[in-house]
């Protein structure tokens, strides 16, 4: 959805109460600090729900407090009965109906606004859930990556979601609500980002052992930055820069890495694991588990089960020299 179709709740309306709710004002990564029109629409609805809910809660507490403090029956049975009836019908029927009927209308209006028109899509991205990582494809742009979704700001994005194994669910709280990835079915999620930035995403549906470490990053960029990123990613892998990296490439194929991983432009065409063509350009390893630094990468290659037990990558037994060569190769995959 684009900003044209969403009447935005101005940020200053949401921000103060939401900041109060958010407490510490931490930047990461909640639904209370929306950075896109969809999350903002839901944020407005959230605010309405919180305010109405709090008002109803206070009303009930006041009634309960008055009931607790009321003096023992002294007003006669008939008065008591009439008062009880007013209380029950007023609190139990009139109050909820007066709150819920407008709320129904607000919800339906919001549901309509959140729904997107066909053809109003700036960018389509296919995301496939795997135990326990995300395969990300840009079908129109010839780019395949993993665990990172790059997109240009202020552009309506459509994610086509499915799963290669069990049910997963895509959720980036600051940008949009979640949508499940279900094997045998393709779901859509449409949203946009209005600010450049890095937003953490989560797998929201329990998907097995490492459900808890199945994160990803959405990287919203200016149009120019995004163009540059796409151009770089669409390239096949850079050839090994030097002799050591070339030796690392051999180790890559000798130790069976290529059975599961693809590096475009080489003989490695495996599909079980993430595409590594531009591995070095990514920010995390293991679907958001650790930062993509040399030490972590080494640890991941040698003992992935130590970092993220239960992920499907087997350990690769390498001596220190071999590991160093392999790392040089992998670090060259920019």
């Amino acid at each position: 959805m684009t900003s044209r179709h969403v009447r935005r709740v101005p940020r200053w309306v949401i921000a103060p109460p939401v900041l109060a709710l958010a407490g510490c004002g931490d930047q990461e990564p909640g639904a209370l600090l929306p950075r896109g029109s969809v999350a903002q629409e839901i944020g407005g609805l959230t605010l309405l729900l919180v305010v109405l809910g709090a008002a109803v809660f206070v009303l009930v507490l006041v009634a309960l407090g008055m009931a607790v403090r009321s003096s023992p029956l002294g007003s006669g049975e008939a008065v008591a009965t009439a008062r009880s009836r007013r209380l029950v019908l007023g609190g139990g029927v009139v109050l909820p109906v007066m709150v819920l009927v407008p709320l129904t209308v607000a919800m339906l209006v919001s549901g309509n606004r959140l729904t997107h028109r066909q053809g109003d899509v700036g960018l389509t991205i296919e995301v496939v859930g795997h135990q326990f990582w995300w395969e990300v494809r840009y079908p129109d742009l010839g780019v395949v990556t993993a665990n990172e979704i790059h997109l240009p700001v202020d552009t309506p994005v459509r994610l086509l979601l499915t799963s290669a194994d069990v049910i997963h669910s895509v959720w980036v709280p600051q940008l949009a609500g979640k949508v499940d990835m279900i094997p045998g079915k393709t779901n859509e999620l449409r949203f946009d980002a209005d600010t450049p930035g890095v937003f953490r995403g989560f797998c929201a549906e329990f998907c097995g052992l490492q459900h808890g470490r199945m994160h990803f990053l959405v990287i919203a960029q200016t149009a120019d930055d995004f163009e540059a990123w796409i151009t770089e990613q669409a390239e096949p892998a850079a050839p090994p820069a030097d002799e050591t990296a070339a030796r690392g490439m051999e180790i890559f194929s000798e130790h069976g890495c290529a059975a599961c991983h693809a590096v475009r432009g080489t003989d490695a065409v495996g599909v079980a694991g993430p595409d590594l063509t531009h591995l070095a350009s990514r920010r995390t390893l293991g679907a958001g588990t650790v930062a993509n630094r040399r030490g972590n990468l080494a640890g991941w290659v040698v003992d992935p089960q130590g970092i993220k037990p239960g992920n499907l990558m087997p350990p690769t037994p390498l001596d220190a020299a071999e590991l160093d060569l392999l790392l040089r190769y992998l670090e060259g995959l920019r």
Binding site: L21, A22, C24, D26, E28, P29, G30, A31, L32, T46, L49, V50, G53, F57, V60, L64, A67, S70, P72, L73, A80, R83, S84, R85, L87, V88, G91, G92, V93, P96, L103, T104, M107, G111, N112, L114, V166, I167, W171, P173, G177, K178, V179, I182, P183, G184, K185, E188, R200, A204, E205, F206, C207, G208, L209, Q210, H211, G212, R213, G310
Partner: protein, 856 residues
């Protein structure tokens, strides 16, 4: 009741209704108080187990990158925590309270089908043990209490953990259905004379409605679990999209059960609240008709909300909106109940004891849970909140605030009735405050965590997201809550031995259970009460039945020939209908449950011989059970004269000296005479308790069939062609012949009693039909792992054949039984009732299998 004659009569009653002593007594007991109490304490044990699991979960999440548990252990523990709390604590403790107190509250002496009740307990116990046995084998279920496939298929969960879960949960659900049948028949047919529908205490109403809901909800999860277990064991692709299945089918079936499940827990808890409020503010709950209507409205509406658990699976916006709107308006009947309690407190004279404090805590927490419920029912908001800690907070507000607090209020309130002793008030209130504060500290921050992005079922979270403080608070709160729970239970345990004696009615409460002794004697009431008011103990003599107090008329005040007698009354007006003789202690429930359990273990470990043997033995035991001499079972007393088997005897006729009405000496002679006239005018009518049990049980059976048919059409609507290939087409010849035979068999059984010969003949025809059906299925060449179509058709055929096979067994057993005691109408009634129901369901399944693929 001073005269010697009545003393002797009461001693005789006490002996008649006694259980046997010792271990034998433990295995054979059927009395509702013993069974109810067992349900309660077993559930409390499971509460402690589930609580420890919860604390371990909170320890792991207390810090970022926690290392208390690994991901495997964490997933196992949250699965078992949810399963234990929902299936092994929540339902059983509420059923246990209902089994214990509803018969007392509605003025009868036992549940109408006591053996079935005992069976239900053993099934529950064995199912719970089976589930936890997995901790010993190491195959602990780890698919979540919702067990979504394909994660729970053999491909992604190859171990036995999910099998433990599916079989254990199914077993426990069957126990729940059994208890539900029992309670429905009890409340519909065994209320004290004069307790019309408008005089049923609210707790009993809620128990009735809970049980009615269970009959329609539990069969869906039983059906879903059986399909998944068949998928795991035999490769049937019900949930496998590559062969025509659909993982969403599970979610629909599970939540058609799962949403009502929440209200199955909540409604009886609100019934407890009503009972506690009335007794402790010394005033009946106001707006009785509105409150009853609210219970019924919530119960019915809860069956139309299930999709709100599936807001993120990719359904059209309008579908979400329809279910969101329905979910919203549950707030109206809930609000009516909340304000009815507030108004009652307002107009009453509260006694601020522990039970009332728990009610206040319940109101505060539950209202907040209801408000967040409206929030998550708002589909767009739910897209953010779904599967996060916001939802975790929401349903713990509803389930701990809405169920655990009322249950604890009820335990404290009814403890004196169960033990004759009063728990300490000061310790009780301390426990309340610990629980109330601990609960809110534990769960309130989770709302915020959820909106900050913390998803459910995550075993850890990285540092730097700003979640540490809230999680630590939550963990600390959970330990405070646990301390409160332990203190509460310790208070009860201490009072059980050392508490102050309470006397029969320490609270001055309004309902009939407080007219019995504390603890009640074996037969509950020396003579069955007669009721003329919603608050019989407050309106003694005011608007009493026939203007008399409830003690003054001695209904069934003297046992006749040592039989366990209760009074059956009509549904709406509670007019006496007949005297029913209930069975006494027996081994059959225990051994049958044991045989079934061994069969289940056989399935679990792929020992099919054991599974088959266990099933055959269980069926044999069931036949033994059905043909047991119910009259002889009740021969506990020393009365040597009892021999007559006709146990639907008229009340108070001249030939029946035991039934003459005896009253206390103080009772006005007029009342005695009136009562005598009343019961003399009574001729036995209506159906037996067993007939009602069969009819209510058939409701559950029909719901299982409905769930399977739903699955069939759900798969059909998702398929491009149906059947998926020409090879699945079957000729109609033999199935038509089978149908013809079964229809004729049904017609032959139409006359109400049916002659013996016609029923034998019908049996033969039905057996022929069954044979033809089996021949047709075997001849079809269908393979269960071929595709979803063939798999679901095989399941429907097996279901139909089982219904018919059981009908044949029932008929054979009952025909023999009828020859043994020709004057007893019960075997004939039971036979005809089940026979009709089974044949109709068989025909429905036949139509789905053979007509549906040709038409739609």
């Amino acid at each position: 009741m001073t005269d010697r004659d009545t003393d002797a009569a009461f001693a005789e009653l006490e002996r008649t209704w006694a259980s046997r002593p010792g271990l034998i007594g433990f295995l054979t007991a059927v009395n509702h108080k013993q069974i109810g109490l067992r349900f309660i304490w077993t559930a409390v044990v499971f509460l402690l187990i589930g609580g420890v699991e919860a604390l371990l979960i909170r320890l792991q999440l207390a810090t970022s990158d926690g290392t208390v548990l690994g991901p495997e252990a964490y997933n196992q523990l949250f699965t078992m925590h949810g399963t234990t709390m929902m299936f092994l604590f929540g339902i059983p403790i509420l059923e246990g309270l209902a089994m214990y107190f509803v018969p007392l509250q509605i003025g009868t002496r036992d549940l109408p089908l006591p053996r079935l009740n005992a069976f239900g307990y053993w099934v529950y116990l064995f199912g719970g043990i089976l589930l936890h046995w997995s901790f010993l084998t190491g195959d602990v279920p780890d698919g979540g209490w919702f067990a979504y496939p394909p994660l729970t298929s053999t491909e992604f969960s190859p171990g036995a953990g999910i099998d433990f879960w599916l079989l254990g949960v199914t077993f426990v659900e069957i126990s729940g259905i059994i208890g539900a049948v029992e309670i429905v028949v009890l409340i519909m047919r065994f209320r004290a004379p004069g307790m019309t529908l408008s005089r049923i205490p609210l707790f009993s109403w809620s128990a009735l409605i809970m049980s009615g809901m269970m009959l329609f909800a539990f069969p869906f999860v039983v059906a879903a679990s059986v399909l998944l277990e068949v998928e795991r064991k035999f490769g049937a692709p019900f949930y496998d999209p590559s062969l025509g299945g659909d993982p969403l089918l599970w979610q629909h079936l599970f939540w058609i059960f799962g949403h009502p499940e929440v209200y199955i827990l909540l409604l009886p808890a609100t019934g407890i609240v009503s009972a506690v409020v009335a007794a402790h503010v010394r005033r009946p709950v106001v707006a009785y008709p509105l409150v009853v209507a609210s219970l019924v409205a919530i119960a019915i509406a809860s069956f139309g909300l299930w999709v709100h658990h599936m807001f993120t699976v990719g359904l059209p916006v309008l579908v979400l909106s329809l279910f969101a709107v329905a979910s919203y308006f549950i707030a109206v009947p809930s609000g009516i109940q909340v304000f009815a309690w507030i108004a009652t407190i307002w107009e009453g004279r509260p006694r601020w004891g522990t039970p009332l404090w728990f009610v206040i805590g319940f109101l505060v927490i539950f209202v907040l849970g209801g408000i967040t419920g409206v929030m998550v029912a708002t589909a767009p908001f739910d897209h953010q909140a779904h599967d996060t800690f916001f939802v975790v907070a929401h349903f713990h507000y509803v389930l701990i605030g809405g169920v655990v607090f009322p249950v604890f209020a009820g335990l404290h309130h009814w403890f004196p009735k169960m033990t004759g002793r009063l728990p300490s008030e000061s310790i009780g209130k301390t426990a309340f405050w610990l629980m109330f504060v601990g609960f809110n500290v534990a769960f309130f921050p989770q709302h915020w965590l959820g909106l900050q992005g913390m998803v459910r079922r995550t075993y850890t979270y990285p540092a730097g997201l700003g979640w540490e403080a809230a999680n630590m608070a939550s963990t600390v709160g959970s330990f405070v809550l646990a301390a409160g729970v332990l203190l509460f239970l310790a208070n009860l345990a201490h009072a059980w031995r050392r508490g102050r004696e309470s006397g029969p009615d320490p609270w001055g409460a309004d309902t009939l259970e407080w007219a019995a002794q504390s603890p009640p004697n074996n037969h509950n009431f020396d003579s069955l009460p007669v009721v003329g008011s919603l608050s019989p103990l407050w309106d003694r003599g005011a608007h009493g039945y026939d203007d008399e107090t409830l003690e003054s008329i001695g209904v069934l005040g003297r046992p006749w020939l040592g039989r366990r007698e209760v009074l059956r009354t009509t549904v709406v007006a509670a007019d006496p209908e007949a005297i029913v003789v209930l069975p006494g202690p027996t081994y059959w429930p225990f051994v049958t449950a044991a045989a079934l359990t061994s069969s289940l273990v056989g399935v679990l470990v792929d020992a099919w011989a054991l599974a088959g043997l266990g099933a055959v033995v269980a069926v044999a035991f069931l036949i033994g059970w059905a043909t047991e001499d119910r009259v002889r079972l009740t021969r506990q007393s020393s009365d040597p004269s009892g021999t007559s088997p006709d146990f639907l005897a008229a009340v108070g006729t001249d030939e029946d000296p035991g039934h003459e009405v005896s009253g206390s000496d103080q009772a006005p002679a007029l009342a005695r005479r009136r009562a005598a006239e009343h019961f003399k005018a009574l001729t036995p009518r209506g159906h037996s308790a067993s007939w009602w049990g069969v009819m209510v049980g058939l409701t559950a059976l029909a719901t299982i069939v409905a769930a399977l048919v739903y699955a069939y059409f759900y798969l059909r609507l998702g398929a491009d062609s149906w059947p998926p290939s020409r090879s699945s087409e079957r000729p109609l010849g033999i199935p038509l012949a089978a149908l013809a035979l079964v229809v004729v068999a049904g017609v032959l059984s139409m006359p109400r009693a049916g002659s013996g010969l016609a029923r034998w003949l019908a049996m033969g025809l039905a057996a022929g039909g069954l044979t033809l059906q089996v021949v047709a299925v075997v001849g079809s060449g269908y393979r269960i792992d071929a595709n979803a179509y063939e798999a679901i058709v095989i399941v429907l055929e097996v279901m139909a054949a089982s219904l018919l096979a059981v009908a044949l067994l029932v008929r054979a057993t009952m025909l023999v039984e009828a020859m043994r005691s020709p004057t007893d109408p019960e075997p004939v009634e039971v036979d005809i009732a089940y026979w009709r129901g089974a044949l109709v369901l068989w025909a429905v399944l036949w139509a789905v299998v053979h007509v549906a693929p040709r038409v739609v």
